[in-house]
């Protein structure tokens, strides 16, 4: 679906036990790409929360269901500049995502739950959901702010 250079593709199962493996891998990847430490943690949190949502909502807690995670290095046009970024696409074959449920809750309402999507949106620069060919697709982009940018030709 996207251009850019492929960095990593993982085929996962919807098992909560696999989350720590994905977190470690994502952390290593973001460090290698040169993200600052706090942004590495933010990307790890977003990926973990997105996978948690897939396991809990799309697959309703069923384990052994397929999830595909693709990490690409892309260029994003911002203010006439080409800026490097990390694009992460998560795909599952679970239930259609209920948009109402994805709205999260008001932070002032101190109660358990409803924070995952808020964390994802706060952690990433772009968050897009779509349903395509019977699959839920979540695309997240994090800009590499500290990297050199080049003027768009």
């Amino acid at each position: 679906m996207s251009g850019g250079s492929l960095l990593l593709r993982m085929e996962l199962r919807s098992n909560p036990e696999s989350l720590c493996v994905v977190r470690n891998t994502t952390g290593e990847l973001t460090q290698t790409l040169g993200f600052p430490e706090a942004e590495c943690r933010a990307v790890v949190l977003a990926v973990d929360e997105a996978l948690t949502n897939i396991i809990r909502h799309a697959y309703q807690g069923r384990t052994e269901q397929p999830i595909e995670a693709t990490f690409r290095r892309i260029q994003v046009a911002r203010d006439g500049l080409q800026q490097p970024a990390l694009e992460i696409v998560l795909e599952d074959r679970g239930m259609t995502v209920d948009r109402e449920k994805l709205c999260g809750r008001k932070l002032e309402d101190v109660r358990p739950g409803g924070l995952g999507l808020h964390f994802i949106r706060e952690s990433m620069d772009t968050v897009e959901f779509r349903r395509k060919w019977g699959r839920n697709q979540l695309r997240m982009v994090k800009l590499l702010h500290d990297a050199k940018t080049s003027r768009e030709s």
């Binding site: 909560p16 036990e17 989350l19 720590c20 977190r23 706090a38 943690r41 933010a42 790890v44 949190l45 973990d48 929360e49 948690t52 396991i55 809990r56 932070l107 002032e108 101190v110 109660r111 358990p112 739950g113 924070l115 995952g116 808020h118 964390f119 706060e122």
Partner: protein
């Protein structure tokens, strides 16, 4: 893997937590907190998060549930030993000021 060890004192219980708190492990934290607060009615429960280097929203939800339980039974829930990752997540949730957070175990126990 999450590990929780419990130290009981006269009116205080300290839960030493280490490992990552996520979808797989947060039920264990929730269970330990609610056991101390709802079943044992411990007047003060102190959560040592020094060994926790990651928590997600399900971990935050377990803490919020613990906080609500403490208010219901008239106990206190005090946290200490928050590292950057845990602090950032509580900050993102706008919950840093909702929880009672101490700088050290001594302060948590003395407060």
């Amino acid at each position: 893997m999450l590990q929780i060890s419990v130290r009981h004192f006269e009116k205080t219980t300290i839960l030493d937590v280490s490992g990552d708190i996520d979808l797989a492990s947060s039920p264990e934290l929730r269970k330990a907190l609610l056991r101390e607060l709802r079943e044992r009615r411990t007047p003060r429960v102190v959560l040592n998060l020094n060994g926790v280097h990651y928590t997600d929203s399900s971990g935050v939800a377990s803490l919020v549930e613990g906080l609500k339980a403490s208010r219901e039974v008239g106990s206190r829930l005090v946290l200490f030993g928050l590292n950057s990752a845990v602090r950032e997540v509580l900050q993102l949730s706008k919950l840093l000021r909702v929880f009672e957070i101490a700088d050290s175990e001594e302060q948590a126990v003395a407060s």
